[in-house]
């Protein structure tokens, strides 16, 4: 075992045990890489559309490369979380819509607890990290945000997943777009593949697609979101942004986090994992595996 891995392992376990946030901006320094030491697996368990509460570790079965593992379990609501907001600032949100949008982003930031952390990515043709990692509850500086241009939603989602992989705390990505993507080189299939590898929960709020390609993209993204333990909402996206976020946050906080130290699987590289409950009638959503570098 490499010493770096031991440090990462201790850091993760320490944070999970204490439930105390790290300092904003320190994520890269203490980033958890899914080592062979400790693996973190966010899990969503639902019966129909309802979250199943009150489960314990013994209710779960987790297989790493087919080998059953001993897991510990925490509820997300007992842990600080990282949130990545990926929001559309393309030409469709100019003028009054932009002002409304800024107010909505501020409200979302205020929704979070002080131990949580938030990062704001804005996108039009390009995507930018507009805030850095900030503590929850603080007033985000959104005044300088401008709107205009094309829409690279898929690229923005892919960038969010790649840039900010699952760290020492549960993370969810909330993506919002009120228009059709018309610029991305990345496509929904790539986003899905990345999300399922990442362990991040993906929640999306989007306008209803009218075109055939748009509907097909929505179908793939919905699949990606649901398989990650998140969801995709459509409807009045601008007016309902804070409400959509709150619904997603509530849903996410009622999910679980399993951690385990892999046993009986020594090889590096990609590990397939399967998570299920012993009560098979539930729908269980979890990452499909992890990379042991």
């Amino acid at each position: 075992m490499k010493s770096g891995h031991i440090i990462a392992c201790v850091t993760v376990l320490g944070v999970l045990a204490s439930g105390v946030s790290g300092v904003a901006g320190r994520q890269n320094a203490s980033q958890f890489r899914a080592t062979t030491d400790v693996v973190i697996v966010p899990v969503s368990v639902k019966s129909g559309t309802r979250v199943v509460p009150g489960l314990t570790a013994v209710d779960f079965e987790l297989l790493d490369e087919g080998i059953v593992q001993d897991v510990t379990l925490r509820m997300v609501e007992t842990l600080p979380i990282d949130v990545t907001l990926v929001v559309d600032t393309s030409g469709s949100v100019r003028g009054r819509a932009l002002e409304q949008f800024k107010g909505n982003v501020r409200r979302i930031a205020e929704t979070l607890q002080v131990n949580d952390r938030l990062r704001l990515l804005t996108f039009a043709a390009n995507v930018s990290d507009a805030s850095g990692l900030q503590s929850g509850g603080v007033a985000l500086d959104v005044e300088r945000i401008e709107a205009g241009g094309a829409t690279s939603f898929y690229t923005a989602l892919a960038a969010a997943v790649v840039a900010f992989p699952l760290a020492e705390r549960p993370q969810f990505i909330f993506g919002f777009s009120d228009g059709a993507d018309n610029m991305s080189f990345e496509q929904p299939g790539q986003v899905r593949s990345l999300v399922l590898r990442s362990g991040n929960a993906l929640y999306l709020q989007m306008g209803q697609s009218r075109s055939a390609p748009g509907r097909e993209a929505e179908k793939v993204l919905r699949d990606a979101a649901e398989r990650s333990g998140g969801a995709l909402y459509t409807g009045d996206v601008t007016a309902g942004l804070p409400e959509g976020f709150e619904r997603a946050l509530t849903d996410f906080r009622t999910s679980y986090v399993l951690t385990y130290t892999p046993r009986g699987v020594s090889r590096s590289g990609w590990h397939n994992i399967v998570v299920r409950t012993k009560e098979r009638k539930y729908t269980v959503r979890a990452r499909s595996g992890y990379d042991a570098e």
């Binding site: 990515l121 390009n126 790649v162 993507d181 610029m183 990345e186």
Partner: protein
Amino acid sequence: MVPFADRRLPGLVLWLVVAAMVAASASHVPAGAPQSGTAGGVRPAFHAESDAVWMAATVLDEAGRLVTDLTKDDFEVLDNGQSRDVSFFRNDAVPFSIVVMIDMSGSMLGALPLARRAVSELVTTFMPGDRANVGLFAGIPTVAPRFSANLQTILGWVSVDRIAGSCRQWAYRPLLPPEAAGKGGVTALWNAIECGIETAAVDSETPRRVVLVVSDGEDTMGLGPPGGAPQDAAAVLTKLAAQYGIMVYAIGIRGPEPSSSREQLAKLAANTGGGYAQLTNRDDLPEMFARVGEELRHQYIFGFTAGGADVSARTFEVRVRRPGLSTRARRVSVHSAPPVMVATSIPNSPVPTASEESVDAPRLGDAALGAVSFSRLDAYERGEAIEASGLSLAPMDLFAAVQGLRRMAPAWIRAGGTEAVARRTLAVATYALDLVDQNSRVDWPEPITPYDFVEWACSMVRGTPASPAERSWQLASTALLERVTVMPRAGSPIGALQPDVPISLPAKNRFTAHVRHGEERYPEEPLWGLARAIVADALPEFAETRAGQRASRIKGYENVLSRPTVFGTDGQFTSVSLVQQEARVRMALVELVFGNSEAALRLLDQAGTPDDPALRYWYGLFKGRALETAERSADAVAAYRIAFAAYPYAQAATTALGAALVTDHQSTEASALVSRMLLLRPPPSDPWFAYRTPLYRHWPDLRRELRSAIKP
């Protein structure tokens, strides 16, 4: 002032004078209507998507007299019955152009001197900016080659010589069967009006356009207008006139007895917001012409914003709040503020003759010509950076600048002397391209379009000897029009992976026609084929099957690849092999879109790694994606690194590389790369965003060449 419709005028019998309701136009050309410009002019495009509406209205009192002292508050504008706020209002003189179509059939031949007097009366009412064209008709209509404000010029067109066919360039076009040509006694009334409308439509100098037709009121050919039977004449011609916002006035001479033709004429006039009068005494014709001029002089102009949907499918109504008044109103064909610039005539030849100059010299100074002036063109010629003063213009200023350049160019070119004609012509044409470039993403005020403007400039440079500089101009204009054609005006390029753009055939055809001009001049240049292929790929023809869709998108590239690579390259902007390399790279993306990653890889291997940075970027992107599809993640990472190296941290390549690194178990590097990408301000330029308008990447170099070539 007594209006056109005054019932008290001795000898007048009025058939129909009031048409308060205006049915807005259909947005397409009726079946059978001609598709090409006439008399050397260029037919303006019709923008049905604008929601800004302009209307001209005439107001009469109960006695039929013009009412000229109303204010904005006296009017109410209804859009499909809904009241709209009037955002623009004027009741002063707004320039108009008028096409006078005079019946010279057997029954009317003796009235030629009278017609000349009538035209003279009309022209004496002209204010700065007003212009006229004259057409004569019997069996076949003819029109003068241009508009003019000069009385002598206009009167010269009211000549019996034209009936004898002595002025060959005046032939309009053979609307009628050949056997009808010799029938001096017949009257092809509907074809003549159609000819008048088409002539007015090609005049892009003035916002208000009018056709005034004088006839004995009977169509004796029995052919009807193109696309309709005689009994449908009013409906068909209304539709055509409405397409261009043209008002039709009609004056019938002789006999008060009703006839089908007269009813149709009156209906047409009412529908288009014009007027119809029947003269029992033909000597009243001059006075009637003067009254048409006065009525046009005293119209009110309104601008307002229509609610939501296509204005071409709506009904607009202008009401006067004061009791006892009625209106005749017509939607006019501009959706910018009506310009006040002076415009006299547009020469059809690139460099007009001295005699034309003396007839149609400018009547106002530079200030009336928008952003263009002699001194400005002088500065541009010297290479000064006049762009810094802002060529990106508001619609009204753009209209003025475009028309001002067209107006002024011939005189400015001549002012440089004979030796400077070719160079100065190139300067004007390059200036035109700068205007198009700076304004390529805004709505152009109807009726001008970037295509018409570039074609005007193109016709000028084609009138000069072929040269490398002119070839650069042809390539530069092609690059600009490619951008105009492919890129939606108010948005950005649509991702080439999901072509979901409404196909704009007229735009595509205009672009293709322009490319043909360049190709005719410089057939050895290989870029023309690629230009056509790119637009065909971006705006593919409809196909029901995926195989058909694929074929439609790659057909142009296959044509490029079929060109012999041994073709000479001396003096060309690019070489056949480079063009073919680009065609292969672009074709590879089409293959990827249609799931043929192996075919894509073959094409990219054949292309080889390009030297051109943008092309190398696209090459790396597409190769990476093809290799990812083939589950060769390490090779995909290597390919994406090619793109990344060409444009470091450009977002499409950086994100794609990051995603491929994740798949290749290199998440740490992926995270570092993409995190850094997200923090760069401003984001580095990304050739992916320009993928649909690739020729535009050559514009800066071509423009630099042109600016250098036009210096004295």
